[in-house]
Symmetry: D2
């Protein structure tokens, strides 16, 4: 339900317009000196209002640790991290609660929970809950870095604009869309602004890479690396597709073209290409793990849309006012990274690659 | 690990060249009069050797129930269903066990299990294990039919050949590729034969639809319908991408184009389009659930390929002889259907939509 | 790890001398109007300092809801309830952290977590964490009451003093030991005071009964009612034994004496006796569910005890000063009730006896 | 449901009078050369008909491996082990299926599964399913032996006859009751024969010890060693109580008497006494783990007993004929050992103390 993972297990708590959103992390090894600045930085990358192409909801999104640390070091106990909600204006949501917004979860949430779900700001179904994901992911990233793995995500596509394959990630955070190529980034920014100018929104893709992952992680048959990663990615609102390596392009390829051949490099067995996305048989090859995640255009748009009044079952029209992102992709980059980090940490703790205690003080 | 699901829980057992492959189903309600002919028919759709575009391994694939039935009716106890392996020729696999086949799990299986995994026919990593999936799926389909849901899958793409949107599924089983459009089917068949003639293989896509699913199934945040379905699909060997509804095309769309508007039809609230693939906020809308699954080209090809001898770490060449499918897609259709059925049954039993006891004799 | 249950799932958070202790409840149906006074009353029954036979640590133990409610009603989202720690004096614990207290978890916590666990007040291993259990249990009790089941626990034994079988529970809360028989209660109170006067402590037993439980709950083989209840009871610190019905006395009995015979009463099938404790084959018979839980004497005693300095591996002596209960049993009564309520709610939600949505507003 | 454990996970399959009973083990490390003679010996200790104080049902109980081994060595894949049912006479059960046998699960099985459960020989609720437990336990014992831990169980009480504390276990298997003290064993044997002569049955206790367990296994709060062991023990039919260390006697003790003091022996920290049963705070101290399990008298007795006809709801009388054990305790010893072994293996694999691959061939 609201818990993901077996060994590094995260539980999401909170509501968009409640007191807070947050996460409980269970299974984090004892002995990690938590880098709070790193955690806050990841949270800031997801924060609303960070640039003029994002929603203008104004939240400080300050991470606060409630449990699980002693003298700044993890103890092996559950870690509770929250961020308090400040800029809550629920009036629009209450006005529109009987006319479900197209593309949002309003209608299905009502099917599932009756009339009791919290309608303010999307409640449990709000993208705001991903702040908790990012905090859990930042702790996971710190664990992964300890064994040499880095996770990096970037904007690969906005609308029809596609980024070239990046050669480095140095300039990615210098533009508001998080595309490593400055020229493409500028085009993407304009595409987003154009969508907003039209009272519309636009979709896109994020590519996320685990650089230098351990070899041999992943479990067979049902708990494959792809399966567990994809389940985690689909928990991010608006995701419509998850691909690994060659992804949907594999359908059009021949085996002789798709197979990654083996070679020896510096006495290590490597694959020459990486159509597999670093995974074979659900288990990591040691090559970079590469996933591509498609986001639909933000369903909140200013244009009038046809909907139904749930009380009268009569057709009517809705115009979603208020503050929203014309494109969710740039802010979703740290969220995608977080989910990849959480899943990899889960496997690596399970496999004993990250020990249960990180050494004594 | 080898178990999937919470309420309708399946455990995969067996090896490609061991005595058997099979499945244990836990959580099937008591009182289902099992239709064995239906189960066998699904198994036959997956069977090797069913047409001249599949592998010529000759297996009868006869389903056999070992536990969980009394007088042909389920008792609520675990159901064990197996199919015995007959046509086992392991010699090729033993010859090549130290030179991993590109695109296969040989190399990663060794990383994960050391030298102990069963190398015969791919052992646990063989597609043959999906016979167990199909048997579990057939039981699940019978449960779903009881509440009015049907699952249908078809071949949507082979290589570059793409099927038009089908208007019905009546003629799908009349051609060996399982494409509902006879003209496209013939082109696809030729594409597969051309790949085989080249000692090569080809990829493709399967679309799978749950017709008339219940409204309001799915759980929030981490146990979304998309997440659990995708995890199940990625347990099928060779899957590279999972899409729902608009899928990867959503990236290039505007919100005004992508949002499915609400309307009233026969006093029911419906969506006019189905870009969402029948799921919003991880919960079913009641519209058809639509998933598209990409398969890579079969990694077994007759062409010589570069690989490494694991014992000497020297580069060498491998030619994968023996019997294999030039395209796995046609035989994978019932497997994809099975995984969708298993996941939906799991949710519906959990939600009490399928009761724990199906009525007394 | 720190999570219990499948359908009504509780996660324990917090530390004895950290900011708070609390619980996250996942799976509580939407639509429960939470009775906060009831919850606070249960918490007060567990509160330190409630009488002169308990520890004098002074905590208000005020329940505070952080997430999961909207207008005082559950929404189906995770419910976070905490109580903040106020009266924290960690000095004694820090002084003694290298000399494990006999009978406490100090030594084993060090084995498991290295030097990182929070030593203040027992940290994660403190009985204080059971405040979270009580809050989760109170919500569960409110769900159970909705289908007619009440949970009642009482002190059945203190030292060698054993309560007669109670005829009612009316006066149980009028004495500080929570024994339904006033005369026995007074003897028990004296036994506890005598232990304290000796700088010692004393053990006891709690009996806990589910009155009027539903018939047919419990799952076969591994998820038996006894198994899941006992696992929950053993999560309470100091528990040494769990019995159902006849319990350890069954060893000395004959079958003809132990078997509960069936009869018909008011057109209902009932058992005449209840040696089974209301459970057969892991499934409830509909008769009261009866469990008896043995608590060891509090390990914290004022007498000097032999121990070892972990740094030097030299034998030394410890005297556990500070505030502690000479007998934990009276305060543990609401904790035992809570665990029974949590487990029963878990089964009943799983079985659909408590629906996922409790009706619309 | 029918699965226990997280890392060493067992799934029970089969019915008393179906084709077979068995078990699927998931998570057994690759590389264990399975000692089939050891496994068969454990199964023989549980076998019916092994002496004249057990049931005379005649079963060979031959273990048969269906999956998971290659060249006699585990591969990391699920291991399926079965034993086929031979001596099946279901006639008595079918005659009596509408008049539930007192003390059996007949009545509750009907509540839970309606009329569909398999009534032959108790179906899923038969003690015969514990043959699968024993096979899973024998594999677990072989893993534990690899790290120096042995599991030994013995009959500690039959009726009112209690065994003295054993000094060794050398002669335990030389008598049919499995009591280490020959004089007490003879008294116990007579007590069982006396019960049978009376057309009655008798209860008892088994003590089970893990000799030389690793230090520091067990998880905090809900997944305590006691909790997980007790859940496993309560899955054995007829268990009424589970105690650790001092058990129910702890209720009558003072803290100064109960606390196990620490000392240094051969440079190791040890406890002088073992009232804790080798567990503190849910985590092993390294001292022997000691559990005592109470079994009720076999509910099947030849005496006439009052019951109800489920079809007519009229009271009637039943006499349970056929073959049954006058005391289940002697045959349950290997079952109790098996459950302890399974749970400890689960923890040790989870903690990485038993590696995922046991070394290359």
């Amino acid at each position: 339900m609201n818990t993901l993972g077996k060994h590094y297990r995260i539980t999401s708590i909170g509501e968009s317009h409640g007191q807070l959103v947050g996460v409980v992390i269970d299974g984090c090894p004892a002995g990690l000196k938590l880098d709070m600045a790193h955690l806050q930085k990841d949270l800031d990358r997801r924060r609303p209002g960070q640039s003029n192409i994002t929603t203008q909801r104004n939240e400080e999104d300050q991470a606060e640790i409630l449990t699980g640390l002693y003298n700044g070091v993890t103890t092996g106990a559950p870690i509770t991290i929250i961020t308090r909600n400040k800029d809550r204006d629920s009036s629009k949501y209450l006005e529109q609660r009987w006319t479900p917004r197209p593309g949002h979860a309003d209608y299905t949430a009502g099917l599932r929970y009756g009339e009791h779900q919290d309608p303010r700001g999307g409640g449990r179904f709000s993208g705001r809950n991903t702040a908790g994901f990012v905090m859990a992911g930042s702790v996971a990233k710190q664990l992964l870095r300890g064994i040499g793995t880095n996770i990096v995500g970037y904007t690969q596509q906005i609308g029809e604009i596609i980024s070239p394959e990046p050669t480095d990630f140095d300039h990615m955070e210098e533009n508001p869309v998080r595309c490593p190529d400055p020229v493409t980034a500028e085009k993407m920014r304009k595409e987003i602004e154009s969508a907003r100018a039209d009272n519309d929104s636009v979709g896109g893709k994020i590519r996320c890479i685990a650089l230098n992952p351990p070899k041999g992680i992943g479990d067979p048959i049902f708990d494959t690396l792809e399966g567990c990663l994809s389940k985690a990615f689909f928990s991010i609102p608006a995701v419509k597709a998850v691909e690994f390596g060659s992804g949907v392009d594999a359908a059009g390829m021949r085996g002789s073209e798709h197979n990654d051949l083996y070679a020896v490099q510096d006495d290590e067995i490597v694959t020459i290409t990486n159509n597999s996305g670093g995974i074979l048989g659900g288990i990591s090859t040691g090559t970079h793990i590469v996933a591509t995640i498609t986001f639909k255009p933000t369903p909140s748009i200013g244009k009038a849309q046809r909907t139904v009044d749930l009380r009268t079952k009569e057709e009517t029209t809705i115009r979603v006012e208020g503050r929203h992102d014309p494109c969710i992709v740039p802010r979703a980059v740290p969220v995608v990274e977080a989910m990849m980090a959480v899943v990899l940490a889960d496997y690596e703790i399970g496999a004993g690659m990250i020990p249960r205690t990180l050494g004594d003080i």
